[in-house]
Symmetry: C2
Subunit: 197 residues, 2 copies
Amino acid sequence: MGRITNRKNGSRKEVITLAAARLFREKGFPSTGMRDLAGDVGVEAASLYNHIRSKSELLQEICFRVANEFTAQLQEVEADDSLNFLEKLESMVRFHISMWINRLDEVMVTNNESKYLEEPYHSTFLNERRVYVRRLEQIIEEGIRKGQIRQVQPYAVVLTLLSAVRGIEYWHRTKKNISANELEESMIVHMVNGLRK
Amino acid sequence: MGRITNRKNGSRKEVITLAAARLFREKGFPSTGMRDLAGDVGVEAASLYNHIRSKSELLQEICFRVANEFTAQLQEVEADDSLNFLEKLESMVRFHISMWINRLDEVMVTNNESKYLEEPYHSTFLNERRVYVRRLEQIIEEGIRKGQIRQVQPYAVVLTLLSAVRGIEYWHRTKKNISANELEESMIVHMVNGLRK
DNA sequence: CCAAAACACTAACAACTGTTAGTATCTTTT
DNA sequence: AAAAGATACTAACAGTTGTTAGTGTTTTGG
């Protein structure tokens, strides 16, 4: 069999990781076999182990890469003094929407398959998520205190926002219905505008 | 080993099905073994087959039972002439919220594990879901036409509503944060009240 | 209290799992 | 063109999977 890549789409490991993300999303992590993945990449199963350490490592790579991107974006938005707190929240929601639109495989694996992470990775992941949610809550709390956001339950609102964007999964199956931009604006109007005081 | 049940919690098959729902939610369908399920129920794996036909049958049972309950409720609400269209929508959202609060195992399995249904069950399931979503859209469309609901994208709103309630999964892990009633009211205010014209 | 039905058990199956060892081939560097 | 390194291959492993066959035991109905 031929080589995995011609040096175009990044390293060999990267090609494998992205193929894994697609398969993990479609078939789920436990029922994606190394032979499935190998076939998708054009190689025998054993050959994958010249590039990766284990199947679990692939899941870790996907989940923590995505988690880090969300955290990095939050960091930036928190530090951006040109935005008030409602705008900070809106900016983060828009980021989530664009991730769900453009990086469906990785984001869905991070959401739905992270429970298959081994320890201690799973605990670490859940902890990072808790912290992330807490920081979003704090944006809302400060927005309320400063009179920029209506009196709401910050925890419930964050829960709702982070879950609502998961609907984009279904949009991907029937894209003709509505454009990506229309979808984003509709979601922002529905879930963020109503929070303005 | 002793018998599965003492005639209290319904039939033996029902006990198995509910145990399966919990395991399928926690561990995922593919990585829940029949030996896990048997152990949970207090029996050897082979004994399960005196009550069920296969592992797949359990998943079918769970998914279609839940789907039928949602459809039945929608039927009722559609036929209830004492409600205007915004109220019909709110009533359905409240039903979803209460299902996510009180029937987490079965509802999560229906949402997250239905992709493991065998054909033709999987196709049937997806079709039923499409029809269900379409009927909710129609409630919104009529509400707009009658001036009871703001001008919104019905498809995007339904997607958002049905996904937002999935956040309740995380609420279950940290119940102390907020009561079930507070959560429900917060979600309704956040996602339904804003739709009023 | 006996026959029938319901239900649990042990043992085993073929298929599939992630992974390793050992070896061959291709690519890059010297 | 030879040496080194990267990467592919085949073959095989030990463990797990859902499920069946065959048999024994408990409960139910007459």
